[in-house]
């Protein structure tokens, strides 16, 4: 199977926060949104949106990290915390605010749970979809083509 992407159907999000709390619990063992790699935010015209790493290709964050702390493993952009010095260069170029401080400058970002994202499994409203790009078009009727293109680095 080819590369899968995590797509957000923002119209379906109800801000139930299941993804957010599941993420912080699975990753850091706490129920605390600042420890989640996914965020539900209000965005201007649409009521809600979900912010998380798009695993860009090429990945701006990995390109500017001088400490080799951001690696691309099979298309997944991973932050290696032990190598990160919190210089925050990556945060200055991420278009999506996907790298955040979980406290004391320990930076976190989504790593797709090693290829089986927990947030997708718990979303009761089918607002998070993890599929190969080709499938997205029929999983999301009238799927916003632009959004999908952006996810794939414009291809």
């Amino acid at each position: 199977m080819g590369r899968q992407v995590l797509y957000v159907v923002r119209e379906r999000c109800t801000a139930c926060m299941k993804c957010v709390f599941t993420c912080s619990l699975v990753k850091d063992g706490v129920l605390d949104p600042t420890h989640a790699r996914i965020r539900v935010v209000g965005r201007g015209d649409v009521a809600l949106d979900v912010d998380l790493c798009r695993h860009c290709d090429p990945a701006p964050c990995a390109e500017v990290c001088e400490f080799g702390a951001i690696k691309v493993v099979n298309g997944t952009v991973v932050l290696v915390q032990e190598r990160c010095t919190t210089c925050k260069a990556c945060m200055s170029v991420c278009p999506f605010g996907a790298i955040t401080d979980s406290g004391g400058g320990a930076l976190i970002k989504c790593d797709l749970c090693g290829g089986d994202p927990e947030c997708v499994k718990v979303c009761p409203h089918d607002a998070l979809i993890f599929e190969p790009p080709a499938n997205l078009r029929h999983r999301i009727p009238n799927g916003p083509a632009e959004g999908i293109k952006e996810l794939l680095g414009g291809r």
Binding site: P60, C87, K88, C90, S92, V93, P95, G104
Partner: protein, 390 residues
């Protein structure tokens, strides 16, 4: 080949890591402070009340077995004999030397600067001291750069009464242009931080400990003074040894070598190169130290590397604001001899500026936002600048 690295801050450790990865002979690092730590998260650790050890740099087991970290201070360089003398009397011989001694905080040369309760925010001891203070003190921060503003907001959230004094006419003078900087000042004032611009502190007053600071127009009561007035290269070890300097910083080539063959320097001790103009600059930033650490290791490993310099990629959280600058600000670009055009726009919760050279190439971007949904376009500078100037 025997390589000795002097200093184990982010630059020194990163040099060791790259040298080990490249398989460059025998690597020894002289560490004036132990364990190594990163300054980059000191303000966040202060803000969140976490133990100072949170700043430690992880040294993976492989590094500890393949390189030797010598705890001690280098007190003398014998360049002719290729030796480093330590405070313990131990002498290390090298074939190549890397000077990674970092910087020292600049303390303004004013009356009372050395009084008790007046200190720079720079390393472990200042973090521990500020964490030990009881709530509710009056604290003056001297200097409104990134360090000054982040420490001011951290002290504010720890329950102190904080005033920032800046000699120039806007905050973040070496980071942002005036318009986005104004948004930062407004936000700080909203959160209760007093910000005084065009206010140079001329004296720290008090008999045995700090009681107030004085500018040309006022006296401001204070229990603690925190200096955040910039960094200067820490170069006492090489002074008088004939190394070429640019101002007070060690001159290096584009690949990190000093004017003496086999002697390299990086980080806050040395200059670096600006990517857009190719000119030497002094930018004491951690990712720049790491950039040259990698280049020097590659050069010592015999890899034919080429390098143009660094595009600044700066992010800080100041209170509830994201402060972002990628590439050059208009004022820095002009200082480097470019003719630029600065265009800023504003939304309810953000200010964004684009700096273009000759009306075309995007050479800089500045964003101040409290709204996380405002898209950050910083990466466009990296992409465009690399395409045009490569």
């Amino acid at each position: 080949m025997r390589v000795v690295v002097i200093g184990c801050g982010v630059g020194g450790v990163e040099a060791v890591r790259n040298l080990v990865a490249a398989g460059v002979g025998e690597v020894k690092a002289v560490c004036g402070e132990w364990p190594p730590y990163t300054r980059h998260r000191l303000s966040e650790i202060l803000r969140d009340g976490l133990p100072p050890t949170t700043a430690s740099i992880t040294l993976e087991p492989e590094l500890l077995t393949k390189a030797e970290f010598v705890k001690g201070f280098a007190t003398e360089l014998r360049l002719g004999r290729k030796e480093v003398v330590l405070d313990s009397g131990e002498v290390l011989s090298y074939d190549s030397l890397i000077i990674a001694t970092g910087g020292l905080p600049f303390i303004p040369p004013i009356k009372g600067a050395g009084l008790r309760n007046a200190l720079p925010f720079y390393g472990m001891s200042s973090l521990k001291y500020l964490q030990s203070l009881p709530k509710g003190l009056r604290i003056v921060v001297v200097g409104a750069g990134l360090v000054g503003l982040t420490v001011a907001s951290s002290l504010m959230s720890r329950g102190h009464r904080v005033a920032v004094f800046e000699a120039l006419n806007h905050v973040l003078p070496s980071v942002m242009d005036e318009e986005p900087a104004k948004a930062v000042t407004a936000h700080l004032r909203d959160t209760g931080v007093k910000v005084f611009l065009k206010s140079r502190v001329e004296e720290v007053m008090g008999s045995s400990k700090v009681e107030a600071v004085r500018t040309s127009s006022m006296v401001w009561g204070s229990d603690v003074v925190v200096y955040a007035a910039g960094v200067k290269p820490r170069i006492s070890l090489v002074e008088g040894l004939g190394l070429e300097m640019v101002g007070k910083a060690v001159r290096i080539t584009q690949l990190g070598e000093t004017s003496l063959s086999g002697v390299y320097a990086l980080g806050d001790a040395a200059i670096s190169y600006d990517y857009v103009t190719g000119k030497p600059v002094y930018r004491p930033l951690g990712f720049i130290a790491a950039h040259y650490a990698r280049l020097i290791a590659e050069a010592l490993a015999g890899k034919g590397v080429r390098d143009r310099g660094v595009i600044p990629t700066i992010y800080e959280r100041v209170g509830g604001l994201d402060v972002i600058r990628v590439g050059l600000s208009a004022s820095e670009a002009e200082g480097l001899g470019l003719t630029v055009d600065l265009r800023c726009s504003k939304g309810p919760a953000w200010v964004e500026c684009f700096v273009r050279e000759a009306g075309r190439t995007l050479v800089g971007y500045e964003l101040v936002r409290s709204d996380p949904t405002k898209r950050n376009k910083g990466y466009e500078v990296v992409r465009e600048v690399k395409e045009v100037y490569q």
